[in-house]
Amino acid sequence: MSATTRAPVIEAAGLVKRYKSATAVDGIDLEIRSGEIFGLLGPNGAGKTTTILMLLGLTEPSEGRVRVAGFDPVRQPLEVKRRVGYMPDSVGFYENLTARQNLRYSARLMGIARKDADPRIEDALAKVRLQAVGDRRVGAYSHGMRQRLGLAEIWLKQAEVAILDEPTSGLDPQSTHEFLDMIRELRAEHVAVLLSSHLLEQVQSVCDRVALFSNGHVVLQGTVRSLAERVLGGHSVVIVEAIGTGIETLLGSIPGVRRVTAEESGRYRLLAERDVMPDIASRLIAHGAKLVQLSQIEPSLDAIYSHYFQEMSRAA
């Protein structure tokens, strides 16, 4: 069963949160299915955390309708929280307790029977590779280890939905990579993963779909590829590195190539409207040039985001 045919586990329609002086979230619609990773992306203060807290029932929405795993977080918060694992931004644990003791307390709060708790805790620690240090006090843990312990709590809960707020901020590249892999493992267990981040590049690789936030609105929503087509107009960027003469004019003459810019000796950046790579290869070889490199740059969320806002400010 593909992700799109499953019933949504998180549904939000017209979600609004007003504080006394400001509107933090202004009419958001979301639909997230099990087995997909959905990214809430955008700068700090765009309303991501407020949206998450409303989904969990920790903040009451001013307007709008929310359903999480079939329950209303406003009226049935316990049912929702029984099924949703949450890892807040820079998650905290009781420093004087060990990782196992911390999870044991969580297990009791979750209402897991004492005899079931210990094997489940071991499983959870194994999933995030903390088993060896499980008896160390959390006070001695690094930031990355705490984040992994936060993920262990979600495994312990056997949650249907995992909500991760800025899970990779402050992690070094190696830990980020490992952490994103652990998130993929959640997806493999058919958990719906909702993660928020302001680091667009980092989470681009892991998200199936994203929603771009700006000032309490979702300005763009969809797969990264579909967003690229919409915002960048279906253009792709191709890098060509070749040795020979008259290459720039040759590249410019290929149908579908919109613009050619020479970057450094023998390196050109092309803006193409369609897949032009086979044409470029055959033309260059026929021309007698030596082709060193030919590659297409995947559209980045960063590019989409900044392009979108350039367009918006130009339109305004």
Binding site: L78, Y86, D89, S106, R108
Partner: protein, 320 residues
């Protein structure tokens, strides 16, 4: 809109964890030693005194609690001073420490209401206080048995138990106050300073200030001034105002309980003494009747402060 599910879900887990934290914490160990040592010193001094008292005294055992001997204050005065200290130490970082450790949102994402978290923490604090007070109480009783060699009468046991109940609710007031401040202030140091400030104000400054306040705002009857008789209105006002301090309520009820000859906590009129035998003890029931308003006041104080904290906590934004 009604919410579903029990507000008690998770209460047991929170209670057990907080109680374990309190009982094993360094803070509690230090306070226990402080309480035990001062208590012992006061009792020892009282026993030295009690030995010189006549053995025919019906309430020899209760003298242990109320006897003072220079330079040490009596046991109840010491306990009245130390209980707020311990209660504040247990409560001042109850809620704000969860925010500062960034554990609040993670814990509240588990299937429990905020009610359970707050009530679990409060109940654990009060239980810790009760356990320490009961231990201290038993220690005093044991010492009395060993050193005096006289067993307490049934009435003495009940009066001493009454003292224990009053002491626990007195501790409850200060624990509620400390918890309230821990909800109001995100910084634990600010919360501690505010609670200690309030405690010092109510227990030391307030009794000194009350006569001035009464002098300034309650006019004195010129006739009585001329005759040199104290004005009853002023006395009532002084008493009423000083009873705003839980310290006063505690001391009054404890004295009435442990010293059975106490006939009244207010002014004593001639009409009260009609038919009374001078220096005779009141029966336990009458003593209880005497302290009923004080005890109610302490319980009400605990509840009111707790409810204010509860409402504030329910309305607090959880995002760290």
């Amino acid at each position: 809109m009604p919410r579903e599910g029990s507000p008690w879900a998770g209460f047991g887990a929170v209670y057990a964890k907080e109680l374990a934290d309190h009982l094993t914490s360094m803070r509690m160990r230090v306070l226990e030693w402080l309480v035990v040592l001062t208590g012992l010193a006061a009792i020892y001094a009282a026993i030295q005194d009690a030995k010189s008292l006549t053995a025919s005294d019906r309430f020899l055992f209760l003298h242990l609690f109320i006897q003072s001997r220079d330079p040490l204050p009596s046991f109840i005065a010491l306990v009245g001073f130390l209980i707020p200290l311990v209660a504040i130490a247990l409560g001042f970082d109850a809620i704000n420490s969860e925010f500062n450790r960034r554990t609040m949102s993670r814990v509240l994402a588990q299937p429990l209401y905020r009610d359970a978290l707050l009530m679990g923490k409060f109940a654990a604090g009060l239980s810790t206080l009760a356990i320490s007070l009961i231990a201290l109480w038993l220690l005093v009783f044991g010492l009395g048995l060993v050193l005096l060699g006289v067993p307490p009468s049934t009435e003495e046991v009940f009066r001493a138990l009454g003292f224990l109940v009053v002491a626990i609710f007195y501790a409850g007031v200060w624990l509620s106050a400390a918890t309230l401040f821990s909800i109001m202030f995100r910084s634990a140091a600010t919360a501690a300073m505010c609670t200690i400030g309030l405690w010092l104000f109510l227990s030391i400054l307030w009794p000194v200030l009350v006569p001035f306040v009464v002098q300034a705002f309650v006019p004195i009857d010129p006739m009585r001034l001329l005759l040199g008789i104290p004005d009853v209105t002023q006395i009532y006002w002084t008493q009423g105002l000083s009873r705003l301090s839980p310290n006063t309520l505690f001391m009054e009820s404890v004295v009435a309980l442990l010293d059975p000859t106490t006939r009244s906590l207010g002014p004593l009129f001639m009409s009260d003494l009609v038919g009374a035998v001078r220096g005779a003890a009141l029966p336990l029931q009458q003593s209880l009747l005497l302290i009923w308003p004080q005890l109610t006041g302490l319980i009400a104080g605990t509840l009111v402060l707790f409810v204010i904290g509860y409402v504030l906590f329910q309305r607090q934004e959880i995002r760290a």
